[in-house]
Amino acid sequence: MSDMQLLNGIYDAALLLYALSLLFVFSDCLYRNPSGKRLGTGLLVVVGLLQAAGLGIRFSQEKGLPIFTPYDFLFWFAFSIVLTSLAVAFTRGGEFTILLLSVAGFCVFLLNRVWLTAGGHTLETWSSVYGWLTMHVILANLSFAALTLGTVFAILYLFLHTRLKSKQWSDRIRRLPNLETTDKYSYTAILVGTPLLAISLVVASLSIVSEGRTLLLKDLKVLTTLIGLGIYIFYIIFKKSGRKSGVSMARWAILGYAFTILNFLLNSLSGFHGWSGE
């Protein structure tokens, strides 16, 4: 069996188990089901192990850190989300947080399998700034994971706020983290994710300038990325000023994330991440 077949086999198994885990977590959120919750978390551990094995295969295929193709980027992102979900489960951070994180992680993992392949890349032309690009991709990945977590808490905030405002009391309300906590966690995650994103962009700019490919800075992607970063910077400023309500802040957080996702989808329109620099 070739490496590629093995990788696909592991990927498919992880995908299937991720779906099962999501179902069990969902059943627990729908109606308290402690055994389903345990099973869901257990399956998530197996998914994490399979993803680690898959990334290990990619490592051996690439003879180095596999992060330079969109496929690898999303693979790492899904892995980060699984690890974050497990950390939330370990700290008993709430089943609804895990559910939303798993939905995001599973969607990314599934789309990666359907749309992308672990094909080769043309990074060889960037050989002089390899280290910087590595740093850029890793930081971008970590910031995406942190911003995803921040968005999950923002969504939970809006959901709970609406329920409490409209006096719709149910068992689910009691199981959600309270408004103050979700607001605080959302802010903390974004406070971590935004500087990571900013540093990641600075590193990318440095590598572009060092390679002398400054034309790339005029790409649409640069502008949209800066707008996304700007939304998050405004979010932090508003939060610090204390002039906006929790609902407004949650909406800003979701808007910023929506822009970040949109920006990622722009990859297909822009030549920026073709890695060739053409």
């Binding site: 409490l164 149910s170 002039r243």
Partner: protein, 465 residues
């Protein structure tokens, strides 16, 4: 042997009756020892709380059991049987076990799912155990009941939701703020209900309490209880933007707080939510204030709705616990049946060991030339033959003893292997009741044939009827 519980609780007896049957904690050891002197009683535990007094016993007979236990109560409390018989209930065997499990899980409590009773049952059992009045049956049964109680609370949400209006307000506040540490509370009107609510908030860590009342003297009185600040209503409303929680119960005819006042206060504190509880009838706070962003306004009907919803949740969780109780009862029954097979297996092993020893003795007498090594080898191999021969019958009887005709199977097994002599000699030193031996012909715990009879179930009726 039989498990019996007699008792009275908040459902069967009014407080004036219950108070006559309250066991003082210091008297409990003496009461337990006197209980053990009651005819037929082999093990005993007394569960005494403000809502119930229950005596759990293992008896060697059911016949007259209730009569003897009533006699004990009559003697201990000095109350005539006729005065309390109508308030008492008696459960036997399976029903008694199920009742204990339900009590421990909080299903029999006034507030369904409360956890206090679990600690009380555990403490009652530990007292009885320390006094040496529990034995094999109750040591197992009460430990299983306490473990089940813990499981019921950890695996379901029966005890999580508030079932009083004041606690519902606190629970709601926790959904908004998480903790009340550092939060400022304003009480408008120093009524009983608002006092109770603020008491819960204050004990949960609320930092500052401002008590506003039309009569300042009453405000001062209540403020002192919570190290708070007394104020007039007019002054307090000026600082509305500084508080996080408002509890209103003034008894005024019109609205004390308009939506505009709330909106103006919120403009001065845009990033912090305001939780308002209006428990007054007629209402003190204009309902339109609920539309102001980040204001959570709940009136008495909303809170009662939450309580009702929580009670419904508890009832649905109770159904899950009933299933758990059913499983635990099956497990206890199985344990009882396995308990019955143990002495029979021990008797068989004793008998086979004795035969083996005798045969070896005889063999070595006939073959004195055998050296020590040869003797060891012969002893080991013949022992292996005996063990292999015993292996299957032991496994089969273990399985059969758990079946419907377990007692019959044990009886046949004892007859086939002629174990009566061993069983009788073993039962002399067996694991029986803790304080005294049964005088009846039935076997005690640790001996041969007994089980909780499935059909001997008394209705959940009252003694004396």
């Amino acid at each position: 042997m039989h498990i019996v519980v007699v008792g009275l609780n908040y459902r069967t007896a009014p407080v004036e009756v219950r108070e006559q049957f309250a066991f003082a904690e210091s008297d409990l050891p003496a009461a337990l020892h006197q209980l053990m002197k009651t005819k037929g009683v082999l093990e005993g535990v007394v569960v005494a709380t403000c809502n119930r007094t229950e005596i759990y016993v293992v008896m060697d007979r059911l016949h007259m059991g209730g009569y003897f236990l009533r006699g004990f109560m009559e003697q201990w409390f000095g109350v005539k049987n006729e005065q309390f018989a109508q308030h008492m209930y008696i459960y036997e065997d399976e029903q008694a076990i199920a009742h204990l499990f339900r009590v421990t899980c909080g299903l029999d409590s006034m507030v369904i799912g409360e956890t206090q009773i679990l600690g009380q049952v555990r403490s009652s059992f530990l007292t009885a155990q320390a006094e040496g009045v529990t034995g094999t049956w109750f040591n197992r049964l009460f430990k299983q009941a306490v473990t089940l109680g813990k499981r019921a609370h950890s695996e379901t949400s029966i005890g999580e939701s508030a079932v009083s209006v004041s606690y519902a307000a606190v629970e709601l506040g926790k959904r908004i703020f998480g903790m009340f540490t550092g939060k400022r509370v304003l009480i408008l009107g120093a009524g009983k209900m608002s006092e109770l609510t603020v008491k819960h908030l204050y004990s949960s860590g609320a930092a500052e309490v401002i008590v506003a009342n039309r009569t300042l003297s009453r405000a001062i009185e209540l403020a002192e209880k919570f190290s708070g600040k007394p104020s007039t209503i007019e002054d307090a409303l000026k600082s509305l933007n500084e508080v996080d929680i408002v509890i209103s119960s003034t008894g005024a005819d019109g609205y004390v707080l308009s939506a505009d006042q709330v909106a103006n206060a919120m403009k001065r504190r845009p990033s912090r939510p305001l939780f308002m509880i209006d428990i007054a009838v007629p209402r003190d706070i204009d309902p339109a204030a609920a539309n102001v962003p980040d204001v959570f306004l709940y009136d008495i009907d909303d809170l009662e709705g939450i309580v009702e919803s929580n009670l419904e949740m508890r009832r649905s969780e109770a159904a899950k616990i009933e299933v758990m109780i059913g499983e635990e009862m099956d497990e206890f029954q199985l344990w009882l049946k396995t308990l019955g097979v143990r002495p029979v297996i021990r008797a068989l092993q004793d008998k086979s060991n004795a035969i083996h020893e005798e045969t070896m003795e005889s063999l070595f007498n006939k073959l004195p030339e055998l050296d020590e090594h040869q003797r060891k080898v012969i002893r080991r191999l013949t022992k292996s033959i005996v063990n292999q021969m015993m292996h299957d019958p032991i496994n089969v009887i273990k399985e059969m003893s758990g079946g419907k005709q377990g007692n019959e199977a044990l009886d046949y097994f004892s007859k086939i292997f002629a174990l009566q002599e061993q069983l009788e000699s073993n039962s002399d030193g067996g694991d029986s009741a803790p304080v005294k031996q049964s005088s009846s012909t039935e076997r005690t715990a640790g001996s041969g044939d007994f089980s909780v009879p499935k059909t001997v179930l008394a209705p959940a009726g009252l003694l004396g009827r």
